[in-house]
Symmetry: none
Subunit: 149 residues, 2 copies
């Protein structure tokens, strides 16, 4: 077990204690674990990605920080299920149907549903080449859902 796992473990415990949100300083943490600061970035991107249910925000400069938020898991399963069922390409009618469903289920808010649909509509993707529109639509759709988890 490497140092990355140690750091990840430490953060997860701290997240338990602090009930889901945690703010820390990159260099502090690096010192505590005796590693270079950039290793913290590595840990963030490999173990605390949105796909894994975390949101990581940060700020540079004096008084900078890294904030990690664990998102709740209830609708996570539902959303994950939907995400995993999506293929590499997606047409607009299907997108509409899926969004409608998620809203009806209460998995996402009406506002988020609308936002989602306007992001994958024809007007939004008009600058994209025809042949890759389906793929882009699928990517956008997935990304939005992933980040909503």
């Amino acid at each position: 077990m490497g140092i990355s796992d140690l750091i990840a473990g430490f953060i997860q415990e701290a997240l338990e204690d602090s009930d889901g949100v945690l703010e820390l300083q990159r260099s502090d943490l690096a010192q505590r674990f005796n590693c270079v600061p950039s290793q913290i970035n590595y840990v963030m991107s490999t173990r605390f990605s949105p796909e894994q249910g975390y949101i990581v925000e940060s700020r540079r400069g004096g008084g900078g920080y890294i904030r990690i938020t664990r998102v709740r898991v209830d609708r996570e399963t539902l959303l994950m299920h939907v995400i995993n069922s999506l293929g590499d390409t997606l047409d607009l009618p299907s997108a509409r149907a899926i969004a409608r469903n998620l809203v009806d289920n209460g998995a996402i808010s009406l506002e988020a549903g609308r936002t989602l649909l306007s992001a994958v509509g024809d007007a939004a993707l008009r600058a994209a080449p025809r042949e890759s529109r389906g793929a882009i639509r699928a990517d956008v759709f997935k990304q939005v859902l992933i980040h909503l988890v």
Copy 2:
């Protein structure tokens, strides 16, 4: 948390109390927070800009002052303003800044803001050719906002 944040916090509280307008003296404030006067200018420009919903006026000389006014614009106007200010192409950092602002202003919900950002992120647009990404990002961003108005 740095000194700039302290100062900003102090001002915001004072604004609450005084119901939206506040007049103060640069050197007073600087003394109170034990910093150089120009730091006040820094705080003004980074935390009380018009984009963030404030008007800052000032006057030099004897009896000089800095007046901060919090302005409340209705969300429709604000959204329209933002939409119209967008160009044909948009980079990710700018998108982030704008979204953050809209959320802070209460013009869109946090959820919608997140949704918006994940829709224009790199992962969402990876299937789009590099050279048209900026354009697609701008289109998506605009469409989402338009539908949120």
